[in-house]
Amino acid sequence: MFKKDIPPSNRSKVKSSVQRGLRQKLLETYPGFEPFIEDVMPKKASLEAVKLPDRVTLYTIDSTPLFFQPIDGPPVPHLRLIHAYPSAVPTIQIDRGAIRFVLSGATLMAPGLTSPGGRLPDAEHALEAGQIVGVKAEGKEEICMIGMLKVGTEEIKSKGKGVVIDEGHYLGDGLWRMHLD
């Protein structure tokens, strides 16, 4: 989604009513943020919206990016936020061989997840298509990519091939490198 560098663009204050709505939406989408919401997004703080290409809006507080939201999708936390609160989103894991592809912006394919180094949640914690997940990597602690699942995890297991996440936000992409100050 953000393969190219993002040029600096205008930012604007978000209305407090809109901010309340966003907060609600964020909590709805990510119940995992519930305990931290006061730290992540204090009621008082003034949220700023930065326009990104492809009709995506990035929300920041004091030039720390919080999350971005495509015009037709749910909000997705920025990786820096995820690194600070890794427990807030469900995660899957890719094997070591896949890391370099993910970090150069390739779509995430199923074999990277089903191989021995990868990890998918068990059947009872299965994730549906459309869920936003963090992608960890074998032997690493931090999450290296975040994006929306194209297929459910059970389907990945049974099929073992095909696209899992395309258009994610990954370490070192344009959004990651973007300067906000």
Partner: protein, 195 residues
């Protein structure tokens, strides 16, 4: 990471990011500037360096991949690194070759505007600099697109000498003095030479 509590907490974790490639250090090897990153980490966070670059860790990394995949990955990494290095070389060459031009343009007999061209090559943002200059000299200052399609900063008034000094003072680290050139725009005889 090193300073992260192990128990799940209400608090934000603090993650160290590499000063060279901005990724978390454990991902530096995929960033294309692995050598530099390693040096940076060694200097800035030796605990973490021990953890990531000790021999055990390196071996553990390698053992999980098949030999052919390892080779491919290594090749890919080398390619990436070469590309990054080439990029950097080209960038610095371009920097050395290009100049920041400070022009004094006559607007109306005794009135002048000062035009600055070429700041963006040195990693400065025209818009921000224009704002700063406006504040510094208390004059109008704007980014305009010249007929040739190049962005330039136009500062009202003749501030070329002051501007030259200011650039060196504030952004001297980014721009070597020899790369700044003062130009007087035509018509008039040359009264002040370049500093």
């Amino acid at each position: 990471m090193a300073e992260v509590e192990t128990t799940p907490v209400e608090q934000a974790r603090h993650v160290v990011y590499c000063g060279v490639c901005t990724l978390p250090p454990e991902y530096c090897e995929f960033g294309g500037t692995a050598k530099k990153c390693e040096e940076w980490l060694k200097e800035n966070d030796s605990d973490l360096w021990d953890k990531l670059y000790s021999e055990d860790a390196l071996n553990a990394n390698l053992s999980t991949l098949s030999v052919s995949a390892q080779e491919r990955a290594a090749k890919d990494a080398a390619k990436k690194e070469a590309k990054a290095a080439a990029n950097e070389a080209r960038d610095s060459e371009r920097k050395a070759a290009s100049k920041v031009l400070i022009k004094r343009v006559e607007r109306n007999k005794r009135k002048y505007v000062t035009v600055v061209i070429g700041l963006e090559v040195f990693g400065l943002e025209n818009k921000k600099i224009a704002k700063d200059l406006g504040k510094k000299f208390a004059t109008g200052s704007s980014v305009t697109r010249s007929p040739a399609g190049i962005e330039e900063i136009t500062v009202q008034g003749d501030v070329s000498d002051d501007l030259h000094d200011w650039l060196l003072e504030v952004h001297g680290k980014k721009i070597p003095e020899s790369n700044i050139e003062l130009i007087e725009d035509k018509k008039k005889k040359k009264s002040e030479g370049p500093v």
